[in-house]
Amino acid sequence: MNMTRSEVLERLQEIFDDIFLDEVVVTPELSAKQVEEWDSLLHISLVVAVEEAFGVKFRVGEVEGTGNVGEFADLILKRLNGTNA
């Protein structure tokens, strides 16, 4: 289960391809503001899709605390590694 950050980003690209109707290129700097389709509603589906794909469960509020896809990937890695912090 030891994924690297770039492997997480690759997997995220696959999920983005299926969840967004438009083509979105995943980069660590990408944020919701830059993608027109990525509104608060689609965000709900995206987070559930990520949780199902990685088999993780985020804690309340913590996805909101990530500023871009890179930080989101770090959060996924943190939950994957089961750290209690």
Binding site: D18, I19, V48, E52, V60, G61
Partner: protein, 637 residues
């Protein structure tokens, strides 16, 4: 349970489903739509349905024939409620689009449903929905008083709360013509009060369940309850909720339960205008008993309380027999010598099913599709109302290939699963149960006897005369609504226009002065056929247009058509109409009534592939003679 299993399974299957569809889409292969429907129906993962929905949307933007085979009429559904309704709405939209083609969805705002419902100018009504789904605010469904209050005070509050919820549904009904799907309340699955929570009527657990019972009891017939409590129980209470998503996006239901709920809502919508199955055809060996009767003999088959397997087969028989109370008729189709096959029905002490429970018994060595066609002919019921169950995959396959209208179910290898499997197929769900249903088996058996008589009486007139038929014509009666609704939604063959209506739509016809609706019952010396014909006429100036004319096929060629015709002319005269207009809308099933109006003396206005229109002048119409003694009660005027 199934959804959980699917959810934790590897994502390999799901990505390959999506992969297959992407491939088909890239090559613009029209097989895309069928696979999309299959995958959507078998998939339980939230994110996978979202992905399937996206693929559907993408496919709709590409020009390669959208959703072939499904009607393109727009279907409008609104979802309002006390939580954030997206992404549930997305799931509902997708599952309905798979069934209905073109779906338009209106989404209420978070917890704004009371205002949306009470304001007659709201967008909800501007949208003119056919169905409104109401998912009420669960957080207010609790007892606000003291735990020390009297049981009476709490019971009063339960009823008040249920009535308040239903009054919102009534408002929707008054302001639109929509049918309403009301979700009930899911009690919290967490321990809280312990023993006291079990006993105390004001505990969350008991209060919500009491409200749910009150809703079921008080709901009018245009409110269809979507049983969230049951769905959460089925899914597993702890898995059904998602605590963090309430705080993040005001959603109470976990993604898993949202899928289950969306599927149920889609099922309710589709079953409002879809007939349930009428005939269950059973294989015998290893289906209703264990072993092979031809090899193992009467003493050798496994059946009854002496072994676990025997007990399971017996339980399956008992469930099958209970289906006859809903109006399902039973038939047998087995590869066996007849004498061997019938023996357990006559002699085995543990058999629940007896010879008289089976309306048509085919045990021979002909291919099963041939026998199914014969049963269909005998019962005058279309093969699309048939369900066939067998333990042998080869038999299921041949039936699927040669009689594709029959729904063929391959039984699970474990006989203890037969009953759940049949229940989960949802093929025999009925909206209501009428008294007629209970005596269906008897009626079909009588029909077989009548046919024997028919074969010997060459002279049709003296045969009909000998039947001593009595007919009762009556205006639509509220007591008959379940049966009228059933006929309107089930009849396919003798049905001139195949217009489906819900019970409450029928009820509105009773009130409308421009409509006349009547039914006919028929009995004869062999027994009562019950309510067998439904007619709806609509006044349009000087013309009475026949909106609906249908009849149960088991009274074909009994002069019911002529008797109804006489009644129709009498009603046209009462309405002051000089002309009756008849319409025939052809379907795959109703070819038998193609010449109905010309045969009754109507002249043709137009006739093409889409419709036939016919007219008859009321003046000078001579009532047609029949052998039916008619009693008519006509109260509307």
């Amino acid at each position: 349970m199934e959804s959980l299993k699917a959810n934790t399974s590897t994502s390999k299957v799901s990505s390959s489903r999506i992969g297959i569809l992407k491939e088909l889409l890239a090559t613009k292969d029209s097989a895309f739509w069928q696979r999309l429907a299959e995958f959507s129906n078998e998939c339980h993962s939230f994110s996978e349905i979202i992905k399937l929905s996206n693929l559907r949307k993408r496919a709709n933007t590409i020009d390669f024939g959208p959703n072939q085979g499904t009607p393109h009429e727009e279907f409008r559904i609104a979802v309002v409620g006390g939580s954030t309704l997206y992404p549930l709405s997305e799931l509902i939209e997708h599952l309905l689009a798979i069934e209905k083609g073109n779906v338009k969805l209106h989404l209420g705002n978070y917890n704004n449903y009371r205002a949306e419902i009470t304001d007659p100018e709201s967008e909800l009504y501007g949208f003119d929905p056919e169905i409104v789904v109401v998912l009420p605010d669960e957080t207010t469904c609790k007892y606000a008083g003291d735990l020390t209050d009297s049981a009476e005070a709490i019971a009063t509050e339960v009823e008040r709360y249920a009535n308040e919820t239903l009054s919102l549904c009534n408002l929707i009904r008054q302001r639109s013509s929509a049918e309403i799907i009301l979700c009930n309340f899911g009690p919290s699955p967490y321990f809280d009060l312990g023993q006291l929570g079990t006993k105390h009527p004001a505990s969350d657990w008991n209060f919500k369940r009491s409200v749910n019972l009150a809703l079921a009891e008080l709901a009018p017939n245009f409110v269809h309850i979507c049983d969230l409590e049951f769905l959460a129980y089925r899914t597993g209470g702890l898995v059904a909720r998602d605590e963090s998503s309430w705080f993040e996006s005001k959603q109470l239901l976990s993604p898993v339960l949202q899928v289950v709920l969306a599927r149920e809502i889609s099922h309710i919508v589709c079953s409002l205008k879809r007939a349930s199955k009428k005939v269950l055809v059973l294989d015998l060996d290893n289906t209703i008993w264990g072993g092979v009767i031809g090899d193992d003999g009467l003493e050798g088959i496994e059946l009854g309380d002496t072994s676990p397997r025997g007990e399971a087969f017996k339980a399956f028989q008992a469930y099958v027999q209970s289906l006859t109370e809903r109006g399902v008729v039973l038939a047998v189709c087995s590869k066996n010598d007849f004498e061997n096959a019938i023996e357990p029905f006559r002699k085995h002490p543990e058999m629940v099913l007896r010879e008289e429970d089976i309306v048509s018994f085919k045990a021979n060595w002909d291919p099963k599709p041939d026998n199914l066609a014969r049963i269909s002919d005998e019962l005058k019921l279309g093969l699309d109302s048939f369900v066939f169950v067998d333990d042998n995959p080869a038999e299921i396959e041949i039936v699927r290939q040669f009689t594709p209208d029959v729904t063929a179910l391959l039984l699970n290898p474990d006989p203890s699963q037969f009953v759940p499997q049949l229940k989960e197929s949802r093929l025999f769900e009925v909206a209501s149960i009428s008294i007629e249903d209970r005596s269906k088996t008897l009626q079909y058996r009588k029909e077989a006897e009548r046919r024997n008589l028919l074969e010997t009486s060459v002279d049709m007139d003296s045969f009909l005369g000998s039947l001593q038929m009595k007919g009762t014509v009556k205006d639509f009666d509220r007591l008959d609504l379940p049966r009228i609704g059933q006929l309107i939604n089930k009849s396919n063959q003798f049905n001139l226009t195949t217009r489906r209506r819900t019970e409450s739509e029928v009820e509105r016809i009773i009130e409308d002065p421009d409509f006349t609706g009547f039914t006919m019952r028929l009995s004869d010396k062999f027994g009562d056929h019950g309510l067998i014909s439904v007619v709806i006429g609509k006044r349009d100036g000087e013309t009475l247009e026949v909106d609906t004319w249908l009849m149960s096929c088991r009274v074909l060629k009994r002069q019911v058509e002529e008797a109804v015709m006489n009644e129709l002319v009498a009603r046209a005269r009462d309405f002051g109409c000089s002309r009756i207009k008849g319409v025939y809308l052809p379907t795959a099933k109703n070819g038998m009534v193609k010449r109905h109006y010309p045969d009754l003396g109507f002249s043709t206005i137009r006739e093409d592939d889409e419709a036939g229109e016919y007219e008859l002048s009321v003046d000078g119409f001579e009532p047609r003679p029949t052998f039916i003694a008619i009693e008519s009660t006509h109260a509307k005027l």
